[in-house]
């Protein structure tokens, strides 16, 4: 398995509070991704990073921000959590992109509940 950890693994928080999820990799891969998984929607891309300090938006980026100050860490922040952000969040990494030819490796996921 690729060396990807996510923390926390489970979190319950209240509406309106800020939340930060962390993805840490030991593979030195350039690309990192944050997805959310919801029933009936599959995985949807929130944000991704193609290098330190280089990030871009995915299809469901509203309400989320990211930061990547080191190759190994990619942080996802919910500035003010809402109930619609209750979901399972997966981090993924890939060595490169080349039109998706490089496999994405997924972390174990973080289950977030916003009450």
């Amino acid at each position: 398995d690729a060396g990807i950890t996510q923390s926390p693994r489970h979190k319950v928080t209240e509406t309106g509070t800020p939340v930060t999820l962390r993805c840490h990799q030991t593979e030195n891969h350039r690309y990192m991704y944050w997805y959310r998984q919801d029933p009936g929607h599959g995985l949807r891309l929130i944000h991704y990073s193609y290098g330190v300090k280089d990030t871009d938006k995915g299809e469901v980026s509203d309400g989320y921000s990211v930061s990547r100050s080191k190759t190994e860490d990619f942080l996802l922040t919910l500035e003010s959590a809402t109930s619609s952000q209750t979901s399972v969040y997966f981090c993924a990494i890939s060595e490169s992109s080349d039109r998706g030819r490089y496999e994405q490796y997924f972390g174990p996921g973080t289950r977030l509940t916003v009450t």
Partner: protein, 112 residues
């Protein structure tokens, strides 16, 4: 792919039955397609991928998929399923820049 569709939301089969899960994509330039599997409580793992060449792609655990350009399809098949194949299966395709888009998933339940 600009979009990826999986029309089977839940498939229930008996052990040893043959499996075919549907996946359709809308053309958006480069056609790079994938099937991922998520076993209960686990993260996604790559089953197989298609970039070019032979349209019949073989993956891990006895799975295969056929790319049919005229039908915009990339269906996943397995001749004989086992109880351990119980999982959720996601079709995905290269979208743009560095992004892959996923279908909504098909949950496969295998009766022992």
């Amino acid at each position: 792919a600009q979009s990826v569709s999986q029309h089977n939301h839940h498939v229930i089969l008996s052990e040893a039955a043959s499996l075919e899960l549907g996946c359709n994509y809308s053309y958006g330039g480069t056609v790079n397609l994938f099937w991922y599997v998520q076993y209960p409580g686990q993260h996604l793992q790559l089953l197989l991928k298609y970039f070019s060449g032979d349209p019949l792609v073989k993956g891990i655990k006895g799975f295969e998929a056929e790319f049919i350009k005229s039908k915009f399809s990339f269906n996943l098949r397995k001749p004989s399923v086992q109880w351990s194949d119980t999982a959720e299966y996601f079709c995905a395709g290269y979208s743009s820049a560095s992004k892959i888009i996923f279908g909504s998933g098909t949950r496969l339940s295998i009766r022992p």
